[in-house]
Symmetry: C2
C-alpha cells in the first residue's frame, strides 16, 4: 500500500514535491474544465479526473464536496471569462447601455461556444460569484437603459434566455448532424422519417441549416429583442 511513497530513501516530502502539482480547489476545477473541453461532459468522471491529476479519486473530495459542487465551480470559472465592458459604472445614455448589453451578450455566447459543455449546465447549477457578477452587470445596464423596471426585469430574462437557449439548440443540431459523432446513424433515421411530401417546411428548414447560411442569426434575434425592449419604453400598453 502507498506504493509511491517508500520507494526512494527519502520518506520525507515524498513524491509530492517531485513533479505532480499539489491538489487544490482551483487546480481540480481547472483540470475538470480542461477535461470537459476536449471530451465533453461524458469524459468527466471523478475517477478520470483524479487519474489525470495523478491522484486517487477520494482525494478530490477533500477539496470539493461532491460532483455537483465541482460542476458549479466549473460553470463559474467559465462565467468569469465573459468580458465586462469598461465604463459600466459611470452614467450612461440609454443607447450606450443597450450597446453594452449587446456586447456582454455576445461575449457570453462566445464563452458558451468555446466551452460547449457549459450551456447545458448553465441552468442546472446555482450561480457562483462570477455568475452573480455577470448578472449584476447586466441588470445594472438594464437599469441604466432607462427602461421601466418590469421591462428591465423580463428584458434580462429575454436576453439571457436567448444566449443560453440559442447556443443550446445550435449545439444540439451540431452534435446530431456531425459526421464525427456516433449519432450519425440517428441523424439518418431522422432524415428518413421526415419525407419531403409530408413535411416540406421542416425539410426546407433543416436544409437551410445544413447549408450553413444561418450564420449570424444569433445576433439578429438578439437585436430583435433589444430593439423590441427599447420600443416598450413609456406606457408598456401593448401586447395581447
Amino acid at each position: 500500500m502507498r506504493p509511491n511513497q517508500q520507494i526512494g530513501g527519502q520518506t520525507l516530502v515524498p513524491e509530492t514535491s517531485k513533479e505532480r502539482p499539489p491538489l487544490t480547489r482551483e487546480s481540480i476545477v481547472s483540470a475538470a474544465v480542461a477535461l470537459a473541453d476536449d471530451g465533453g461532459l461524458r469524459a468527466l468522471s471523478m475517477r478520470n479526473l483524479a487519474k489525470h491529476l495523478g491522484y486517487e479519486v477520494m482525494s478530490l473530495y477533500n477539496h470539493v464536496a461532491n460532483k455537483h459542487e465541482l460542476l458549479t465551480l466549473m460553470v463559474d470559472q467559465v462565467a468569469g471569462e465573459i468580458t465586462r465592458p469598461q465604463g459600466a459604472d459611470e452614467p450612461l445614455a440609454g443607447e450606450e447601455s443597450i450597446a453594452m448589453i449587446r456586447a456582454v451578450a455576445v461575449s457570453a455566447r462566445d464563452v458558451l461556444v468555446a466551452h460547449p459543455w457549459a450551456a447545458p449546465l448553465w441552468q442546472r447549477v446555482l450561480p457562483g460569484l462570477a455568475r452573480i457578477r455577470f448578472m449584476e452587470i447586466l441588470l445594472c445596464l438594464f437599469d441604466k437603459a432607462g427602461l421601466p423596471s418590469d421591462v428591465a426585469h423580463y428584458g434580462f430574462h429575454a436576453v439571457t434566455n436567448h444566449v443560453v437557449g440559442y447556443t443550446l439548440q445550435e449545439q444540439e443540431m451540431m452534435s446530431n448532424f456531425d459526421e464525427f459523432d456516433d449519432l450519425d446513424q440517428r441523424a439518418r433515421e431522422f432524415l428518413v422519417d421526415i419525407d419531403v411530401e409530408r413535411f416540406p417546411y421542416t425539410v426546407a428548414h433543416v436544409e437551410q441549416h445544413l447549408a450553413g447560411d444561418t450564420g449570424s442569426s444569433f445576433e439578429l434575434v438578439l437585436d430583435l429583442i433589444l430593439d423590441g425592449l427599447t420600443r416598450l419604453d413609456g406606457t408598456g400598453s401593448r401586447g395581447r
Copy 2:
C-alpha cells in the same frame, strides 16, 4: 427462479393474462411519462420502470432499443399534447398566422409546465414524429405570416427558444428556491453569497421573483418577439 409462472396449475398463459397488461412500446412510454411526472427524471431508471410495470428490466429492451430511445419517445408523446390550431391549412392573413403562432407557443409552454422533466430533454433528444408535426405547423404558420424567408427561419428559432428556454430557467428557479426540495440549503448559501451592498440589482431581481410578480412575463416576451418579427417585413435593413 421464475417464481410467478409455476404457482398455479396453468403453466400456459401464465400470469400474463391474469392482471398485468401486456408489455408494449406504448405502455412502456406511458408508464415512463407517468413515473417522471411525479418523481422527476431521477426516479426514472429502467429498473424502477420495470418494477412499476410488473416486469423485469431486460424485458423492456424487447420493445425499446435503449434508454435514450425511451426518452425520445417520452418527449414525443408529450409533444403530441400540444394543441394544433384549426384552420392552419387554409390561407391566412398575416395577423391570423401570428395569432396562431402565439397560440401554439402558449400551448407548448403549458405542456412543458405540465411535464417539468420534458424541457431539459427537449433539446437533448432528436425530434420524433409528433415533434416534427409541431415544427411543420409552426414553420407553415411562419411562412403564411408573409415574412421574408430568412426572418421566418430565425423567427421560428426565436419562438421555440423562448418557449423552452424560458420554461427551463423558470423551473430552475422553482426547484432551487422551493422549500420542499433538498436544495433549500444551497439556496441559503446562494442568498448568503450575494449581500445587498455588493449586488443590489441582483438581490432586487431575485426578490422580484420571490414576490411572484413575474406571472405573465412569458407572454410579454413572446409578444415582444412576435411584434419584432412582424416589424421586420420588408427590407430587413435594420440594426447593424
